[in-house]
């Protein structure tokens, strides 16, 4: 049964890739490419659900396929299965959506063949990452995932900036790969690379090399996940890619970094000293706060969403970091709570971030711009997209009863359990993280008021926004599935928490903690410290909605329908230029956090030649200083360029010089062999 599902998964992806290779054009071709991806992702989803529900891992070993370092070893345990479910959750709607979305490339502006091929191979290699059971398989699939996603980013390579974004992505992902290789080499310590052997041999490593492994792999996986300050590629690569690919990369692929961190730090190394958890918690808090702060200043819809991915990865890491800290002190129930919160937020983020990127893609599809200052009023022409985007915005802002609320609540609960920690210095960390997380949540809500309000409400600010059209059915279906997932995951935390509880049981010696939770209509954390019930909130909202007409009738409100200007505020002759813009909405926060943004402003006023009381035009330009680019990456790049220029002098272009290099090296080597 599991074997069959696995074969269906692999062959469907391969068929999808083959169809793409043979052209993949026309609605039939695009549909077949998407069908391959959907069936593959569906089979993976079913296989993963099977593994999680039955609790028995799926194993498949092909040692002959690659007779090197143990060959291909595949084993899907519940943790891997959980992430395979996330892949399925993101890939099915995105592929359906992609079938319609990629129609714009039919005019030859991008290669549909490459897009379909890379998409299917990307999904295949990413799925196999979760199966990997030895170092070689893991790294191979990891690199396959990185390379195919690079080609996906490069789909619109003729657009300005795409090539640059691709280079940044490629560089960052390979720095990450180098760190991972280093980490695994230290971890293997000259022995076997099979994960089952590593689990036992990791215990005999010295404390220093264990910490080295942790740091190297944390940074390596972090560069994929997008932790600050390695997040730099996200706001470049995500907007450059086609929207359904952005959804997959942001919603699903960066989660593989989380998977890697859990797999190595918790599963293979079995946890470590308290500062490991502290680092994860600290990096998570900083990523969450900085991610949302930069998102607030962003007026490119997709870049804004990309920065929110940094924020949400931060929230996930806060949960996991708290879990690691509790795990060190043996407080397994609280540790489980932290991990559950983190993983729950992982799957939630996969659903709502994919949904939001698909929504942004629909906006882009309809108006051909991502700049929010040129949008507005889209809700009238694109009601379904607006509804789905609203659901996604509410979910990411953690409004009950949607899914973002449930997982952030769990993360908060685990942090609040920090007063139980025996060491006061560590216990103090927790309230700080609570504060940062709380600030983050509030700012995220403000940011999505901006994103939704400026884009979909108000009056259209440009011709394109005025004549926007609703997206085709396949794109609506893709978004609809994810919107349902957001609602479903939000209404049933009791079921999801129980499942995740099963997933993490046994990792790093975690006992089965599911009994400590109370699963009823409401969810009660261990020790009855807190409880919440999304279904009851939902019910309450419904009742409130039902009561409203009743109360209005009681108050004898005027029932007549009135039409007024959008955002009219009683003015006469309202135009789009009088409205709030994204910039003006974010201005107060720009002032509050001026220390961080260091905004530069530039106002040019053009007066009438006769009197300066008549202004002809005002030009206002304001930019924020990209802190990390300027202070971290620019110096590194300068250093690399300088070194490269020096090395270039060796390449003088003279044939004799090159031949002389050969003879000199030969003589040096011979002499070295003679004396050493």
């Amino acid at each position: 049964m599991m074997q069959t599902l696995f074969l269906i998964m692999v062959s469907a992806y391969c068929l999808g890739a083959l169809v793409a290779l043979s052209g993949g054009r026309g609605s039939l071709g695009r549909g077949l490419v998407a069908l391959g991806a959907v069936i593959g992702a569906g089979a993976g989803f079913a296989l993963a659900a099977n593994v999680i529900l039955s609790g028995t891992p799926f194993t498949l070993s092909v040692p002959d396929l690659l007779p090197l370092a143990g060959g291909l070893a595949l084993r899907l345990d519940p943790l891997g299965a959980f992430f395979l479910i996330i892949i399925g959750l993101g890939a099915i709607p995105s592929s359906i959506y992609g079938a319609g979305y990629s129609e714009v490339y039919e005019d030859g502006s991008a290669s549909l063949r490459l897009l379909g091929l890379a998409l299917n191979l990307f999904l295949l290699t990413m799925s196999l990452v979760t199966f990997a059971d030895n170092v070689l398989t893991f790294l191979l699939m990891w690199e396959g995932m990185s390379l195919t996603s690079y080609f996906l980013v490069m789909t619109e390579s003729r657009e300005a900036g795409t090539v640059r974004a691709g280079i940044w992505y490629l560089a960052m992902t390979h720095i990450g790969l180098a760190l991972l290789m280093g980490g695994f080499i230290v971890l293997m310590n000259g022995g076997s690379g099979a994960f089952s052997d590593l689990r036992t041999s990791a215990a005999s490593l010295s404390a220093a090399s264990r910490s080295l492994v942790f740091l190297l792999t944390f940074l390596g996986f972090g560069s994929k996940a997008g932790i600050v300050p390695l997040h730099i590629w996200l706001p470049m690569a995500h907007p450059a890619a086609p929207s359904h690919v952005s959804a997959l990369m942001s919603g699903v692929m960066i989660k593989m970094g989380i998977y890697g961190i859990l797999r190595v730090a918790l599963d293979l190394l079995g946890g470590g000293p308290v500062w490991w958890g502290g680092i994860i918690l600290g990096v998570g808090s900083v990523s969450a706060l900085l991610g949302v702060l930069y998102a607030l200043m962003e007026h490119d819809l997709k870049r804004l969403l990309a920065y929110h991915s940094v924020e949400n990865i931060g929230i996930i890491l806060i949960g996991i970091g708290a879990g690691m800290i509790f795990h060190t002190y043996g407080m397994m129930t609280l540790a489980a709570l932290g991990f559950i919160g983190g993983l729950y937020h992982t799957i939630n983020h996969a659903s709502f971030k994919s949904l939001l990127f698909l929504g942004a893609g629909s906006v882009l599809h309809a108006t051909h711009t991502r700049n929010m200052e040129e949008l507005g009023g889209l809700i009238k022409n694109m009601p379904w997209t607006a509804l789905f985007f609203l659901i996604g915005s509410a979910a990411i802002s953690a409004l009950p009863p949607l899914n973002g609320f449930a997982s952030e609540w769990l993360v908060f609960q685990s942090l609040l359990g920090g007063f139980n920690l025996p060491v006061p210095e560590v216990a103090l960390l927790m309230p700080v993280a609570v504060g940062m997380l709380a600030l983050t949540s509030g700012l995220a809500a403000a940011c999505f008021v901006k994103a939704f309000g400026i884009t979909f409400l108000a009056l259209p600010r440009s011709e394109a926004a005025e004549h926007a059209h609703e997206s085709p059915l396949s794109m609506q279906v893709g978004m609809g599935i994810l919107a349902l997932a957001c609602i479903g995951l939000g209404l049933a935390p009791f079921a999801v928490v129980r499942l995740i509880g099963g997933v993490i049981t046994g990792l790093g010696g975690l006992p089965d903690t599911r009994a400590a939770f109370t699963f009823n209509l409401h969810l009660q954390t261990p020790g009855a410290f807190g409880q919440m019930s999304s279904p009851l909130v939902f019910l309450g909202l419904l009742i409130l909605l039902g009561l409203t007409p009743l109360i209005m009738r009681l108050l004898r409100v005027n029932w007549q329908l009135r039409r007024g200007d959008t955002w009219g505020c009683g003015r006469v002759g309202q135009t789009a230029r009088m409205e709030y813009t994204a910039t003006s909405f974010a201005e107060p926060l720009r002032r509050i956090f001026a220390e961080l943004y260091r905004p530069s402003r530039d106002v040019t006023i053009d007066f009438h030649p006769d009197s300066k009381y008549f202004v002809q035009s005002i030009e206002y330009r304001s930019e924020i200083t990209p802190l990390f680019e300027r202070w971290l990456y620019d110096p590194i790049l300068r250093l690399i360029r300088f070194t490269a220029r020096q090395v270039r002098k060796l390449q003088a272009g003279s044939l004799y010089l090159y031949l002389a290099y050969i003879i000199i090296i030969l003589i040096i080597l011979l002499l070295a062999a003679r004396w050493f």
Binding site: Q651, A652, G653, S654, L655, Y656, I663, I667, R674
Partner: protein, 219 residues
């Protein structure tokens, strides 16, 4: 087999082969280059015959024949044709002048003695005293490659280096199996043909066979 005559003959032969290599550094006309290479190959095939006689390895006769045909007849013939086609070119301005070249080649041979010393010390082959000379010939061939400007002199430098490798193999192991030897000959022939094609292209592109001109390909 451990014949003093064989030992002396192999040392003498190796010295002559090396001398022909050093002649390249002394002469300037391309014609002299080709002649030196031809006579060097002749001596090398004679050495193969001598080794074959003393070691009773009759395969070496066949190798000697092949080597003679290829390196003393075929390749020099084509080299001369190339030379005729491009007119009488002389190696007028090598990167290192003749006097310095001779001194440097002497130092390279000394270096070869230094490097091969451990090998010579532990070896009990009658041919062992020729080994440093063969190594020296490889260095000299490389030195010609680096310092001479004409494409034809560079080809000859490469072929001389190849002769050095063949000599080293002969002295160190009494010749490799014939199948390997044939493979090497084929390699040399093909390498030579490829280089010949390149030289014709360089000539048509730059109207000169000074490899120097290829600097222009940078940027």
């Amino acid at each position: 087999m451990n014949d003093p005559l064989f030992s002396q003959l192999s040392t003498l032969g190796s010295s002559i082969v090396l001398l022909f290599g050093i002649i390249l550094l002394w002469r300037k006309s391309l014609h002299a280059y080709i002649d030196a290479f031809r006579w060097q190959s002749v001596v090398l095939s004679v050495m193969l015959l001598i080794t074959g006689t003393f070691s009773n390895d009759h395969e070496l006769y066949a190798v000697a024949l092949f080597l003679f045909i290829l390196k003393a007849v075929v390749i020099p013939h084509y080299l001369e044709r190339m030379e005729k086609r491009f007119g009488d070119h002389r190696e007028l301005q090598p990167y290192v002048n003749v006097a310095s070249s001779l001194i440097l080649s002497g130092m390279l041979v000394l270096l070869a003695y230094v490097i091969t010393r451990p090998l010579v010390l532990i070896s009990d082959l009658p041919t062992r005293s020729g080994i440093p000379l063969a190594m020296g010939l490889i260095f000299v061939g490389l030195f010609v490659l680096v310092t001479r400007k004409k494409a034809i002199s560079q080809i000859v430098g490469f072929l001389v280096m190849e002769n050095g490798i063949a000599l080293l193999a002969l002295l160190g192991t009494y010749g490799t199996p014939i199948i390997v030897e044939l493979g090497v000959f084929l390699d040399v022939l093909l390498g030579f043909l490829v280089m010949q094609v390149f030289v014709y292209h360089i000539q048509t592109t730059f109207e000169s066979i000074e490899v120097d001109q290829m600097n222009e390909l940078k940027h």
